[in-house]
Amino acid sequence: MKALVIDDSRTMRRIVSSVLSDLGYETVEAGDGQAALDVLESGTEVDLACVDWNMPVMDGLTFVTEVRNRREWKDITLMMVTTESEHGQIVRALAAGAHEYVIKPFTPDAIRDKLELLGLLPTEERV
């Protein structure tokens, strides 16, 4: 399985990517929403996108809306990973089409638990 990790902080991209690769994901990274759209436009297929909210150029909410408008990307699971943590912001992100929401700060288990809920743990048949 492949995940696109979108965050303007390289530090946060490394943290999220490291959790995902421990879970068996291959990861690609992008520093803002537009760069992430470019990755998808170039034909890179991903199962999951972890999306920060506040980023330069294009924010995460706009990215989610753009992805949801494109039929060919309908199978991508969108998970916000952001410090935005008001009740109303979570409602906005879900309404825009995000499937899940992880609030920063998070522990590695938080990402794992959400992926388990979504049925997106590659190591499901772990033995």
Binding site: S9, R10, T11, P56, T83, S85, E86, K104, T107
Partner: protein, 161 residues
């Protein structure tokens, strides 16, 4: 009084910082505590901050994280999963320390009584100049023997027509 919009107390600032460090650098353990006594003079100060603004009300708040560069380097190594003696480059320091301020600030924003917009972080070798603005609250924290200070300021913004 507009400062009433920033009803954030020190217990909440401590709780936020404890959660941030426990989750992001300390493997779930709470190693941050409120510091008693004076904050020692900082030799090589660094600061990172984010603003939360409510343009329609001409109001905002700024969360500032202050420490010294060696401490910020320890933090950067922990966040970037680097070795204890690995050199921390300027880019790594700015990115990691800025992200810390972003996560702390985003959580402070959720405590404001009105919805606000979060800025991207700024990282600097000196504390921000805050002359026209109103100091609200600060808390000094101990983390693994290092000192951090979290400050909260109210910002007076140009009103938006």
């Amino acid at each position: 009084m507009r400062s009433g919009l920033v009803g954030v107390d020190r217990t909440q600032m401590l709780a936020i910082t404890q959660d941030v460090f426990a989750a992001m650098v300390d493997g779930g353990e709470v190693l941050v505590s409120a510091r008693f006594g004076a904050v020692p003079e900082v030799v090589d100060p660094v600061a990172a901050w984010v603003d939360m603004s409510v343009p329609s009300l001409g109001f905002g708040a700024r969360a500032v994280v202050r420490t010294d560069r060696p401490t910020a380097d320890v933090l950067t190594r922990a966040l970037l999963m680097m070795g204890d003696d690995e050199h921390v480059g300027l880019d790594d320091f700015i990115d990691a320390f800025g992200e810390l301020a972003n996560v702390v600030g985003g959580n402070v924003k959720s405590l404001l009584s009105v919805p606000a917009v979060l800025s991207l972080p700024t990282v600097s070798g000196q504390a921000p100049v805050m002359e026209d603005n109103q100091f609200i609250q600060d808390i000094a924290l101990d983390w693994r023997g290092h000192v951090f200070v979290i400050e909260l300021w109210m910002l007076v913004l140009e009103p938006v027509a």
